[in-house]
Symmetry: C2
Subunit: 307 residues, 2 copies
């Protein structure tokens, strides 16, 4: 089944301890859609400026991502983020953010977009997320958000949470959203705000999933080289939603496998700048890492007799 | 098979956001031995002062821990640690450390102690760890250490690493010991220094095991209430070594199950102050949490066809 993603298509200028890239294609909808495209059809709703040209288009076309709902604003530039990572690659230091076309972004959905059964609301203003959500007759709606919206638009964010099935955020965002340091208690509070599932991204430590009745946690794929963490969260969500939509399965087992595919896609994404690694990724490589994660986390039953 | 542990038997004064206890029984050998005692016979080598009385003895006797190698120094007091935890329970703030009898501790081993097949070298000065290790004809030797020895006695520590099979340390200690921020690369360096296995404790994120040929990682047991993290690492090591010694198995599968038992014992230990929770723990509770961790980390194989 196809997926619709709304989010940003942007240009990023990124510096890490291992190198630097200027004005490379990025944005939540980009990372998400490229990752998800390995599993199913993906359609993007986003906005770009004149600087989005044939070179950028080619990235989506090569992955057969449908960009017919991508709005182009002439006379303006695309969203631009400039940031830096130190040796602690978990923390991005924003140097500059230029919203440009994104400042007045009002997502416009085609009739086809409104019929997409899987919907991912990338990290944009929560009211916009709700506006999109209400137009799409989706069977599964997942969303991301960030600390900025938690702090600056808490009411809009809480309203958004009532309209989604799955919230996919990181560790510190979950604690901040719940106002609770203990993740298990934080998760319970967040589930009380609307979503049926909470998926928590924990960077190099993996991911966890909470529902009212179940818990799942997995370590991350162990990487010796993390080159550029930009887009890790969105490629995680892309692999996750891509697997669910590709198999059209929503049971707890499928959700668990989806988290593993999400971890796999994120692990590839961070190996190189931007989408570079994902642009030459193969299904065999994806499946091989899935099997590795299965082996890495496997252990047998045991029962200790009283001593 | 029996285990010998050398380490501290101490009194701790601990303050957490949830309460306070003064002069409660603690120390690495205490936490380790109480945890391991659920799986096999345990013998302690440590030193205490006059303040170690019948009440403290009873804790060991009730768990059938052999304290006949516990040295008693009259006219002196036991090792005393005083510390505090804030809401970030991962970080202990030491208020005061009084070595007392521990300042001149020279481990004295009985003939029986020297024949113990499983040996755990708790976090003490690395030269003392080596001295003990050389006297014991053990089939498996594991050790802990801490940042203090990494920084202050690096040569003694590196010598110690050549005498052990398994190093069990936490995340930040592994990075510091290797001088390398990436844990996978840090692990490779540490394995190059001597131990055949490195087990990394990651607190609320779980644990990971590295060998030259294999990798294993597990999430932690998800806890809503962490009351006092003191002793978590030693009860982890106690459960781990206890399972290995109790089953006398050293293959990779056994090591993985041992890590799960270690996680289970640590999860109980932190639920209350000191050894309070472990003193009334049952085998059924331990096995139940093992099964829960198995369920929490389980996922099925998958294979995505090219899309």
């Amino acid at each position: 089944m196809p997926i619709l993603v709304v989010g940003s298509v942007a240009f990023d200028s990124v510096k890490t301890p291992f190198g630097e890239r200027d004005h490379i294609l990025g944005g939540s909808a980009t990372y998400f859609s490229v990752a998800a495209s390995f599993f199913t059809e993906v359609r993007i709703v986003a906005v770009v400026g004149d600087d989005f040209g044939p070179k950028e288009e080619a990235v989506f076309r090569e992955r057969r991502v449908d960009i017919s709902d991508l709005e182009r604003v002439s006379g303006q530039r695309s969203f631009h983020w400039s940031g830096e990572y130190g040796f602690d690659l978990n923390v991005a230091h924003t140097r500059d953010t230029q919203l440009n076309v994104f400042a007045d972004f009002k997502p416009k959905l085609s009739a086809a977009a409104c019929e997409t059964p899987y919907l991912f609301l990338g990290n944009i203003q929560p009211d916009l997320q709700v506006e999109v959500r209400k137009q799409v007759a989706a069977k599964l709606v997942a969303a991301d958000t960030m600390n900025y919206w938690i702090n600056n638009t808490p009411d809009a964010l809480k309203n958004m949470l009532r309209h989604i099935d799955v919230l996919i955020i990181n560790d510190s965002e979950a604690r901040e959203l719940a106002g609770e340091a203990n993740l298990v208690r934080a998760a319970r509070r967040i589930l009380g705000l609307g979503p049926r599932r909470l998926i928590v991204k924990r960077g190099e430590y993996g991911a966890a999933m909470f529902t009212g009745q179940s818990y799942f946690a997995t370590p991350a794929y162990p990487l010796e080289e993390v080159f550029d963490p930009t887009g890790a969260g969105d490629s995680f969500a892309g692999g996750l939603m891509g697997y669910l939509a590709g198999t059209n399965a929503l049971d707890d087992g499928a959700m668990r496998r989806a988290i593993i595919y999400g971890s796999v896609m994120a692990s590839f994404n961070v190996e190189e700048f931007g989408c570079e690694r994902m642009q030459r990724l193969t299904h065999d490589e994806i499946n091989a890492r899935f099997r590795e994660l299965l082996a890495y986390s496997h252990f047998e039953e045991a029962q200790m007799p009283p001593f």
